[in-house]
């Protein structure tokens, strides 16, 4: 019995030693030509991987069409589209950049650019080499996709934050619909009047883009970050602005209490007809319109002491540092952000085009009165800049912001915590 076990154990040890050695070599290998980002066939055809976020099959199909257009223009470039939901996309991307296996073509959102630049390739030399004219792109979103003076992605969409409102609820409450340039006082009066019978006039949530747009307009100058890229959440104006926004829920009661962290909270409250107004980007407006069982209207962010103010955000396509075929990848990226493609995306409402020359296409499918609102919003907006590690800030804002919104802590305390705990 004992001997049998001994011999078994010896072979087992031998086997595991072999296996460990084998495992280590395979673990350290993988330097073949077939890198995950792209590969070249013997006939010179290049296949590139493109990482993109998509919320469903319909979304995915729309982006697949964009990929096909690259192949139509450059028959030797094939694009393999890989999609994941928006939030997971960035978790995955960071991990893959770390492993040197990121897709060649990387989709990037302006709020997150700073955190991923170390894994991305600056495009300036390729823009120059290919003589690409970038003057047609909206300058605020070009700035949003740049970092440290280098351009890391070319934008496909851009959007200034605006208010979406439920036309039916406004009519039922006898409240006049908001006009371009309406004020914070108008907004508060409307929200108060609309809050009746278990329904709310507005729905707020401590998510950066929407909340800081409202705070910027209300205070006229409070911004979450200074010129040097440091968080400035604890300034007096910011605390006052944040308190005002939180009190829409906590004190004024014109916005519903928040049941814990829920990134879809404002959208579900608005679509359920439980709240008459919410802050949104034009990228979600046409989808909201399609889903809503009521009339959707657009308004500018209510104006404070310094007039109408808003932030812009948007997304674009860049190239990963590990991509072995940057020239082909750049051809793909410039096709994907060409006037032709962006015009098509705009026409179907998939994106508010980042190219000024084709922005009119978006309005073909949009609704009445949206053009003056978006024009006013765009004219008053500045790019929303973020710190290098933005995701933790966003998470902390939700964790502590909810307490402030629900009236269990003051804005000052919540902001102190977020500022203190945010990674530098």
């Amino acid at each position: 019995m004992g001997r049998q076990m001994y011999s078994g154990r010896r072979s087992l040890a031998l086997a595991s030693a072999l296996v460990i050695a084998g495992g280590l070599t395979t673990g350290c290998g993988g330097d073949g030509q077939d890198s995950a980002g792209g590969n070249k066939a013997s006939n010179g055809a290049v296949t590139l991987t493109w990482g993109m976020w998509a919320s469903g099959t319909e979304d995915r199909n729309a982006w697949q069409k964009v990929a096909d257009q690259v192949t139509q223009k450059y028959p030797n470039i094939k694009i393999t589209l890989e999609t994941s939901p928006f939030k997971d996309y960035f978790t995955k991307l960071g991990t893959r950049l770390a492993g040197g296996s990121a897709p060649c073509v990387v989709s990037m959102q302006s709020l997150r650019t700073g955190g991923y630049v170390s894994g991305m390739r600056p495009l300036d030399d390729l823009i120059k080499k290919n003589g690409l004219d970038t003057a047609d792109f909206d300058t605020s979103i070009m700035a949003g996709l740049a970092s440290g003076g280098k351009q890391y992605a070319l934008p496909y969409d851009v959007g200034s934050l605006i208010i979406t409102y439920n036309k039916d609820m406004f009519k039922a409450a006898g409240v006049p619909e908001p006009k371009v340039g309406w004020s914070v006082a108008d907004f508060e009066a409307a929200a108060k009047k609309l809050t009746t019978g278990g329904k709310y006039g507005f729905v707020g949530y401590p998510s950066a883009l929407g909340m800081f747009s409202m705070i910027l307009a209300k205070t006229g100058n409070a911004e979450p970050m200074d010129e040097s890229g440091k968080l400035t959440l604890t300034t007096e104006q910011m605390k006052a602005g944040f308190q005002w926004y939180a009190d829409l829920t906590a004190k004024q009661g014109v916005s519903p209490k928040i049941p814990g962290v829920d990134n879809n909270f404002t959208e579900t409250q608005f679509l359920n007809g439980n709240a008459a107004m919410s802050v949104n980007g034009p990228w979600s407006v046409l989808e909201l319109k399609a889903k809503a069982k009521f009339g959707v209207g657009l308004a500018t962010i209510p104006a404070g002491p310094n007039g109408t103010k808003s932030y812009t955000a948007g997304s674009g396509f860049g190239i990963s540092q590990s991509c072995p075929y940057p020239d082909e990848a750049f051809k793909a990226v410039s096709t994907m952000t060409s006037a032709e493609v962006l015009g098509q995306l705009g026409a179907v409402g998939r994106a508010y085009p980042a190219r000024k020359s084709v922005q009119n296409k978006w309005y073909e499918n949009a609704f009445e009165g949206s053009k003056p609102v978006l024009d006013a919003a765009n004219a008053s907006a500045k790019p929303f800049r973020t710190t290098k590690n933005w995701d933790p800030v966003e998470k902390l804002l939700a964790q502590y912001g909810i307490q402030a919104f629900n009236g269990q802590t003051t804005a000052a305390d919540a902001l102190d915590q977020v500022q203190q705990q945010s990674p530098a």
């Binding site: 595991s16 296996v19 170390s118 894994g119 814990g260 962290v261 995701d391």
Partner: protein, 308 residues
């Protein structure tokens, strides 16, 4: 077994030796696939994560050896300490509740209960339903105007607390949901253990005049103590690793009220990509679990009875 081995003549054992060696080789061959899997997907990552814990290991860029710095960073980080305390609070609340509910229901579902098979399935359902679906349903139960708040308001005109959004409530709400989600598995284990108790023991006790409580504490509990030990050890390990419920229902909030160790590790690893810090956090959690489990194993000698 041992008698047999002694009685076996030495010659027989000697004759069988070559075949045994061949068996060993064959065994190694058959074991190879799982050994390779174990090495590549388990041992290698474990060793690598231990190495990473001593490095400053960003996702992209220079990796530098920093010794114990990651560990000192963690222990001086108030958020980490808070996450550690929250995890302990979760374990202290969850483990006893889970065991009480699962033992209680297993005892209640005795052989005389009609439809006990169907009931077992019903109670086991939450274990097999995806956690995401459970979390969404429980959020609807907890939220303002949700099931609890809505029915309380309709009945009494007062509002229930905002369970997931209020400090002081959120952790209890997460524990309650976790108990509902997790007790079914232990209940099945206990139910099987209770069924294995010889009827005559309970009958003898009954004849001797032992009431239901006495039967429970003096016979049932000691008889299922091995199952109790198994269930409490496994539940303790998984409850230290609690992640999905707070991640989906509260996101760690309000404030830091439901931020657990695993969430902390996840954030460090996949939100700011500090793999060294994340690995160090994971190893602290591992040592903690190892320590507590070791204490349980030592302690079991006092209360677990293996003889019938």
């Amino acid at each position: 077994m041992s008698d047999d081995a002694i009685a076996r003549p030495a010659a027989v054992a000697g004759r069988r030796r070559p075949r045994l060696r061949r068996d060993g080789r064959a065994a190694a061959f058959f074991a190879a696939p799982s050994m390779i899997g174990l090495t590549v997907f388990t041992l290698f990552p474990i060793v690598l994560s231990l190495v990473m814990a001593f490095f400053q290991w960003p996702a992209v860029g220079e990796r530098t050896f920093t010794g114990l710095e990651n560990f000192t960073t963690l222990f001086t980080d108030p958020v980490f300490r808070r996450a550690l305390l929250n995890t302990l609070l979760f374990v202290v609340l969850y483990l006893p509740l889970n065991l009480i509910v699962s033992v209680g229901l297993a005892v209640w579902m005795g052989p005389r209960i009609k439809g006990r098979k169907a009931l077992r399935v019903v109670f086991f359902l939450p274990v097999v339903t995806p956690m995401v679906a459970n979390a969404i349903v429980w959020r609807m139960i907890y939220q303002p105007n949700g099931l609890i708040d809505g029915s309380l308001y309709a009945a009494t005109g007062t509002h229930a607390p905002n369970f997931l959004g209020e400090p002081g409530w959120a952790m209890f709400a997460v524990v309650a949901m976790s108990v509902w989600q997790g007790f079914g598995y232990n209940m099945l284990v206990f139910s099987a253990a209770l069924d294995a108790i010889p009827r005559h023991l309970l009958e003898a006790a009954q004849i001797d005049g032992a009431g239901p409580w006495r039967q429970f504490f003096r016979i049932m509990l000691p008889m299922i103590s091995p199952a109790l030990f198994f269930a409490s050890t496994m539940t303790l390990i998984t409850s230290f690793q609690v992640f999905t419920q707070p991640f989906l229902m509260t996101g760690g909030g309000p404030g830091m009220d439901t931020e657990t160790l695993m969430m902390f590790v996840f954030d460090k690893g996949f939100s700011i990509y500090q793999y060294g810090l994340a690995s160090a956090g994971a190893w602290i959690l591992f040592v903690l679990i190892l320590g507590v489990t070791a204490v349980q194993f030592v302690g079991q000698r006092r209360w677990v009875t293996y003889d019938v």
